[in-house]
């Protein structure tokens, strides 16, 4: 079932990390409003392959809004114009026949372009490696899961923070290219749980240091990250991280 939408796409094409890129225009006809945004790009790619041209490269995997692989800045907004939706779940019915759609890669010094719309987001992995964990080995004799009670409210808030999919939209959306929402979500998840409190001080200092080292910008509380986050991770986490960092820097450990 093909549809009846005609679109003009302006897509960033860049051969590799060193190459100079440019926006290229593609005309799409017969787009179905039931297609997802990425399926629309699949169709474009299929057409390009038929014309023996190189298809547009973009990251994607699960296509159900949870793996965090898909990215894209669509008409200036990470994951497109609809809130709380990843690009893979954005559907073409949210656009109008005759629209011109700009598709660009995430832009940040810490997210260098690899090719076309694909960027390198390993900075997030390195931040996680710097402290985004609880130092516990796989135990042959673990403590029973119910031996430490956790307030439901705290467990729920930790879960809300942990629902971050690490897609990088926060840094892409931030006018300062700051990764504070991502980092603070991880810091918050662990800070809210008794298991994570043990090394909270060390964690927040190391993760912030790594974040700064990666070249992300500074948070100026614009709130764009929260608006564009496909999982609705809250700014409250950034406040919590700032608080944790202050305490970690000045409150002497007992």
């Amino acid at each position: 079932m093909s549809g009846n939408m005609n679109l003009t796409l302006k897509i960033w094409r860049q051969a590799n990390a060193q190459a100079k890129g440019e926006l290229k225009e593609y005309k799409m006809t017969g787009v179905s409003p039931d297609m997802s945004f990425l399926e629309m790009l699949d169709v474009l790619n299929e057409q390009l392959v038929e014309k023996k041209e190189e298809p547009v490269v973009f990251d994607h995997d699960c296509r159900e809004g949870i793996c965090g692989a898909c990215s894209l800045v669509i008409n200036g907004r990470p994951h497109g114009p609809v809130r709380r939706v990843t690009t893979c779940q954005l559907h073409m019915r949210k656009f109008k026949d005759g629209d011109t759609i700009y598709i660009e890669p995430y832009r940040a010094k810490a997210f260098p372009v690899i090719k076309d719309l694909m960027v390198d987001r390993k900075a997030y992995d390195r931040i996680q490696a710097a402290g985004g964990f609880i130092s516990v080995n796989t135990s042959g004799n673990p403590t029973d899961a119910n031996s430490i009670l956790i307030k439901k409210e705290n467990a729920d808030r930790a879960f809300a923070a942990a629902s971050c999919i690490g897609c990088g939209a926060c840094a892409a959306a931030c006018p300062n290219a700051s990764a504070m929402l991502f980092v603070s979500a991880k810091v918050s998840q662990f800070a809210l749980l008794p298991q994570g409190r043990v090394e909270a001080t060390r964690r927040v200092k190391n993760m912030v240091a790594q974040m700064d080292h990666e070249g992300f910008g500074n948070c100026s509380n614009t709130g764009a990250c929260e608006v564009e986050c496909p999982k609705g991770v809250s700014l409250e986490n950034i406040a919590r991280m700032n608080r944790e960092y202050l305490a970690a820097s000045f409150v002497p450990e007992s």
Binding site: M1, S2, S32, P33, D34, M35, S36, E39, M40, D42, V43, E46, V49, E50, K52, P55, V57, D59, H60, D61, C62, R63, E64, C67, G68, A69, Q89, H91, I114, K115, M118, K122, Y124, D125, Q128, G132, F133, I134, V136, T138, S139, T143, D144, A145, N146, I148, I150, K151, K152, A155, D156, A158, F159, A162, S163, G166, Q189, F190, L193, Q195
Partner: protein
């Protein structure tokens, strides 16, 4: 039994086997662990947990994954939960009961000792995850909450909203990244394993393609661990991720590992149906919806046709003209029959022409009745006398919203239909593959030093997997089984020293890999990879899908053969081999699927009975249920690659022995 298929089940009573094993297994001391390199392929629940645990033990781990981050493996998409034998709810659960449910759910096609071990370690998994900071759902007393799931009479499923897989994988990923930070794991992102290097009968390394540069690279290790997931994408449309593939497993198969039960595929009944030719994947709607939704299609064919043509709306069909076929066929279980049964029943109705979307491949899952029922109860509780229809609807909608709001929202996002007003449309879709690489009790394949974990192995699920068991198995293998069993093999490797990648065996395998890439690039035909992938998927879905016959399977084998020949003659791959090239990546995977699909059909053809997800239409009871033949088919089929074509694959059989389970026929009437 051929000797190579010795599962090495430890002696002793079932409940003591694992403890006995652990008490007597050979160990590697800490100083020697530092001298040993392990290659782990895949970073889902099984691979990620294995890599982290092995690194914690002191081994040097190199981890390979095709995604840009270890956190993106498709385990992340699991929704429902993870089973464990905790019995926190005091409803009679135990290790034995979890074991028994899993064996029975698998329709008596899995290995007793493996499944019992799985049930034994399941509780530890929950403890470990909580210690890692996985935010499971809790009650107001601060304790972990449980929900119930299909195939069990107890509440043993732990969950984190509808994102349990995500939370477990992120827990595992955090342990993984901790070891990356310590330098004990070296991650190789955007690297795809293309082949296995076997030296003197032992797995010694892998050949990978750096997906960014296109370079072919060699890595050596004292053991190779495959945790590369399932091969559901052979059907083109599935709930798997776009990149999920069977190529690493397939390469290992070609290097001597046996492939077990390839035809056992799980088709999940509640997925959002296909809307058009452009669809790239299918999205699951949680099984829990069947608790309150009623499944139906129109009774009259003209109604069905009118709906298909968009001339009629489902809400215009009166109740008496609706066919609640599950309730009709299975009065005892109704809409809550197991996955395989529900899927087959939906297909039967659609094939008969009663499907309800424009493609005729969908059935309704209707919440109208639940809304009315809940609304009535609420109105009664609120003391409303003679409530209006609208009042009842509003009250009922609120209850349904609380229970399933997230799923309804997701459904609306994808279909643009409001499921509170018009019934949801659903259709079965490929979800999981129970088959995989054959492994023994230690999870070692038939190649020494090569292990397979999680969905990648032929697993503990027999012919049908129960809900919330895949997460359990992945983590059990990675956290608790492999770290204990691998030392039995590595104890002999402490004197081996570093393995050079300059061995002639590496040269030979790399040459093969390069030659195949060269061949794919040089066909320069006219058709895209996706076009072949779709055609293969069509054959698989129609002839090796939910209902299989001798004829359909024979035809499938012929058609796949022909398609494969066409593929190697008329494929077009744009771009270059020595650069980032997603089309080339897909081409390699589809080339392997072209063979794997055929093996699935061959396996299904050889199994002249029906069990779990494998339904041979010739072998059914009078009322259309699966009819098992335990006398002749109670075995694990293990296929061996011989020569240079899948046509020559040889079937071996590992007989299944049930010592503690009474084997019975299932019925849901």
């Amino acid at each position: 039994m051929s000797n190579i298929l010795d599962a090495k089940i430890p002696a002793g009573p079932l409940s003591k086997k694992w403890d006995n094993y652990k008490e007597h297994v050979r160990l590697v001391n800490p100083a020697n662990k530092r001298k040993i390199d392990i290659l782990v392929v895949g970073t889902g629940l099984a691979g990620g947990s294995a890599a982290a645990s092995l690194a914690e033990l002191g081994y040097n781990v190199k981890a390979f994954f095709y995604q840009d981050s270890a956190r993106r493996a498709h385990s992340i998409a699991a929704q429902g939960g993870i089973n464990a034998n905790k019995n926190y709810t005091n409803d009679g659960d135990s290790t034995y009961r979890l074991f028994y449910d899993t064996i029975k759910g698998g329709d008596y096609r899995s290995r007793e000792a493996n499944v019992y071990r799985l049930a034994q370690v399941s509780g530890h998994i929950i403890d470990q995850c909580v210690a890692q900071g996985v935010p499971f759902a809790r009650d107001y007393g601060g304790q972990l909450d449980n929900r119930s799931f299909g195939g069990a009479q107890v509440s043993r499923t732990f969950y984190a909203a509808g994102q349990t897989g995500q939370q477990l994988l992120l827990g595992c990923y955090s342990a993984f990244q901790r070891q990356v930070g310590k330098g004990k794991i070296t991650p190789y992102d955007r690297h795809e394993m293309l082949d296995l290097v076997v030296v003197d009968g032992k797995a010694r390394g892998i050949i990978v393609r750096n997906m960014v540069t296109g370079e072919i690279e060699r890595y050596s290790g004292h053991a190779v661990v495959l945790a590369t997931g399932g091969y559901g994408n052979v059907f083109f449309l599935s709930t798997n991720a776009m990149g999920s593939n069977g190529s690493a497993a397939w390469a290992t198969f070609k290097r001597g590992a046996y492939f077990a039960n390839p035809c056992f595929t799980q088709i999940h009944p509640t997925c959002i149906p296909v809307t058009g030719d452009h669809q790239s994947k299918l999205t699951l709607m949680s099984e829990s919806l069947r608790n309150d939704g009623r499944i139906w299609v129109p009774k009259k064919k003209e109604d069905a046709e009118a709906i298909q043509q968009g001339k009629k709306k489902p809400t215009e069909i009166p109740d008496e003209d609706r066919d609640f076929y599950l309730e009709r066929r299975y009065p005892a279980f109704g809409n809550l029959v197991p996955r395989d049964v529900a899927s087959r029943a939906a297909k039967e109705r659609c094939d008969a022409g009663y499907g309800v979307n424009s493609t005729g491949k969908a059935v309704y899952l209707d919440f109208k009745y639940a809304i009315q029922r809940y609304g009535g109860i609420e109105a009664h509780q609120k003391g409303l006398e003679n409530p209006t229809e609208q009042q009842i609807y509003d009250l009922g909608k609120k209850v349904v919203e609380e229970k399933y709001g997230n799923l309804f929202q997701m459904y609306e996002m994808i279909t643009d239909d409001d499921p509170y007003v018009t019934p949801m449309m659903i259709y079965p879709a490929v979800h999981y593959t129970m088959g995989g690489i054959w492994v023994d009790y230690e999870l070692m394949t038939t190649i020494k030093g090569c292990y397979a974990l999680g969905e990648c192995n032929f697993s503990d699920h027999g012919a049908n997997r129960l809900g919330a068991s895949a997460l359990m198995q992945g983590l059990a293998d990675g956290y608790y089984v492999l770290p204990n069993t691998i030392s039995n093999y590595l104890a002999d490797e402490i004197h081996t020293g570093p393995i050079p990648t300059t061995l002639p065996e590496f040269d030979a395998v790399e040459k093969d890999v390069k030659a195949r890439i060269e061949k794919l690039m040089s066909i320069k035909g006219t058709k895209s990879v996706d076009s072949f992938s779709k055609r293969l998927g069509n054959i698989m879905w129609n002839k090796v899908g939910m209902g299989r016959t001798k004829q359909s399977l024979t035809e499938a084998i012929e058609e796949i053969r022909a398609l494969r020949a066409e593929f190697w003659k008329d494929l077009f791959v744009p771009g270059e081999a020595h650069a980032l090239n997603p089309e080339l990546e897909k081409a390699g995977r589809v080339a392997d699927f072209m063979e794997l699909g055929q093996l699935m059909a061959m396996d299904a053809l050889s199994r002249e009975d029906s069990c779990g997800g494998h339904f041979r239409e010739e072998h059914q009871t009078e009322d259309g249920e699966a009819k098992r033949d335990d006398e002749n088919f109670s075995y694990v089929s293990a296929w061996q690659w011989v020569g240079d074509s899948i046509d020559n694959a040889v079937l071996h059989k590992e007989p299944l022995v049930y010592e503690e389970t009474k084997v019975q026929q299932r019925s849901y009437k």
